[in-house]
Amino acid sequence: MPQIEKSTRVREAISLDRPWVTVVWDDPVNLMSYVSYVFRSYFGVTAAEAERLMLQVHNNGRAIVATGDRESMERHVEAMHGYGLWATLDRSEA
């Protein structure tokens, strides 16, 4: 499954020419267990992937949790704000 997802992402990146990304930032308030739960329940990722993203946020200060068109990323950011997570959107650097 991860293989398929990866190739989908690559295709998206090519066709949209620098898509948008949803970034979740580390904050000292939100609990790791909660952040992990939000990733799992909102984005529907596996527990392992949610944990990986959460640790990336925690250790690197931020993680890209979604890639796509601007409208979808705004929807994700709004949802993250609803959960109380610190999220932003930006142009993909790729």
Partner: protein, 180 residues
């Protein structure tokens, strides 16, 4: 206080009456604060605590950030208000004036019984979000630094910090109850 999932799908925990009062108290304050936010008031939106509840979606583009906030702030605030109202309703009615005297250290006039708190899946979602909002507001008040340590060290802040940590415990207990 520890939440457990029931066979029926609900989660439940026994709260000490003092815990119910505490949560009711801080949630009422949150409701009041959220209710006073005017999404068209730029000065109000510039306050750090509001900026954390409604963060900039575009950190490098103030204009786009303003526009995003204009489209989302009302809905987000409505959601936060509805969540806090849901939390309050699950806590039941205020027991009366003497309840406010039951803070740590104060000798209770009687030995109050723990209160069962039972939450549906939907109520849990509101609780998780409101507990986060409460912690974000208290973190601002305590000036929690990037390492999670409060920068204020006066007596009042110690009490607030205890509440902040307790709210985190409640949230973690809820997450484990529904996520494990």
């Amino acid at each position: 206080m520890e939440f457990r999932r029931e066979d029926s799908g609900t989660v439940s925990a026994m709260f000490e009456p003092i815990e119910v009062d505490l949560l009711r108290n801080v949630t009422s304050q949150l409701l009041q604060m959220l209710g006073s936010v005017d999404a068209d008031d730029a000065a109000m939106l510039a306050q750090p605590v509001i900026r954390r509840l409604l963060p900039d979606a575009y950190p490098n583009d103030p204009q786009a950030a303003d526009e995003f906030r204009r489209f989302t702030a009302d809905g987000l605030l409505e959601g936060k208000l509805a969540n806090a109202t849901t939390v309050l309703s699950a806590l039941g009615d205020d027991e009366g004036a003497d309840a406010t005297a039951d803070y740590p250290g104060a000798a209770p006039a009687h030995d109050p019984l723990p209160v069962p708190i039972v939450l549906t899946e939907q109520q849990v979602q509101s609780w998780l979000r409101t507990l986060t909002d409460l912690r974000l507001v208290l973190a601002d008040r305590l000036q929690i630094d990037p390492h999670g340590m409060p920068q204020l060290d006066d007596e009042q802040s110690h009490v607030v910090n205890d509440i902040y940590n307790w709210l985190g415990m409640v949230q973690e207990s809820l997450v484990y109850a529904i996520d494990m």
